[in-house]
Amino acid sequence: MAKKPSERRNYEDEDMELNLTPMMNLISLLIPCLLISMVFVEIATINVTAPAIGSASDGDPPEKPDKPPLNLVITITDKGYTLAASGGVLPGVASAEGGEATGPTIPLKTSEVGCVRYVGTVPPPRAVHRTQSPCADPQAQKQFQVYDNAKLTEMLVAIKDAFPDEQRVTIAAESSVEFEALTDAMDAAREQSEEGGTKRELFPEVVLSPGLT
């Protein structure tokens, strides 16, 4: 377009800046909004098969296996783990705290527990820790009576060595047992961490039993 002589002289000054202010407003609002709603915990899942209620069609192959199934059952009570299978119940092991042979296979043990997972609370089974003060400092170590997950893994490794094809474990629990104890037992039963960071799979198929009466 033709310009007036007076405008022609100021031609260089017409280098217009894009007005980014509304855009900046929008972005500076959106970013805090998204940051707040963002979840920084990494989540995972544990696959669980339901206790067989009605739907028998799911899962099991129709042909009969040569060997009878192991039917490994871990029962969680507030006294510890009890292991049972088709052959019978594993008797209790004598523990340093004087666990009786009539008690659970793996009784609770007293040990130093890192508080990082239990800030403001106590490790399961919580019923036995009612009188104790909860963890406050995440860096602290406190004495608690806890489920002996290492021992459970150790015994399950021995069972896995004897029955290498077995994948399935049934977990039953007393009605008052916390969900956290359940997932801890599933972790202990799923895999064994070996030296060098490798993991050996033990019993990844978890079946939850409807519970003890």
């Binding site: 998204l34 899942t45 919580r126 007393e174 916390e178 997932t183 799923r190 409807p210």
Partner: protein, 195 residues
């Protein structure tokens, strides 16, 4: 060498005319020119905009990619686990000591401190939690209806259970029994990685 070099041009020792330094007659014009020179450059925010745009895209992408989102509150702290399995998109059931939610929609409240649903809300020998059953059944119906129109969105019967770590096993087994009755066959417990 030559006379030319020695020769001093005429008038070099004379002082210049002081009037040449005086303000020109159009004083206003000159002031405006000075003001134009001092005028500050507009703040260059182009690089800032680049950063913000990249951040925005990253945030929106990570926001939409999670199939199941978890908002931890005082009442809902899932346990830690060493599991590495990724969550799948599915119906969710959230269990806390205060109540049960189906797909983030409150289904039943728990008034007692022991985490048990009131007897009046339970049927089938105390195992079936009726308000939860109604909601789960509606979710199954909804998914099956979608599956009837869209073959790729097949109904898998998968339910993700988000549970607080203090929830007792009795409530979990009741909730799972209820979900089983509503048509769910596979379950995933949501846990927090680590530990």
């Amino acid at each position: 060498m030559s006379e030319k070099q020695d020769a001093i041009p005429e008038g070099i020792n004379e002082l210049p005319d002081p009037s040449a330094f005086a303000a020109p007659e159009g004083g206003v014009k000159r002031k405006r020119k000075q003001r134009d020179l001092i005028k500050p450059e507009p703040l260059s925010i182009n690089s800032l905009m680049d950063i913000m745009t990249i951040l925005l895209v990253f945030l929106i992408k990570s926001y939409s990619s999670d199939p199941v989102t978890l908002k931890q509150t005082e009442d809902l702290k899932p346990p830690f686990s060493s599991s590495q399995l990724k969550p799948d998109p599915s119906t969710t059931m959230t269990l806390t000591l205060k109540g049960i939610l189906v797909d983030d929609d409150p289904a039943v409240q728990i008034a007692t401190s022991d985490g048990q649903v009131a007897e009046s809300d339970r049927e089938g020998g105390g195992f079936l939690i009726s308000p939860v059953f109604t909601k789960l059944e509606a979710a199954v119906e909804h998914q099956k209806e979608i599956a009837s129109y869209n073959a790729s969105a097949e109904f898998k019967g998968l339910l993700t259970i988000i549970s607080d770590r203090n929830v007792p096993f009795s409530l979990i087994s009741q909730a799972m029994y209820t979900a089983g009755q509503a048509g769910f066959t596979k379950f995933k417990f949501l846990v927090v990685k680590g530990g």
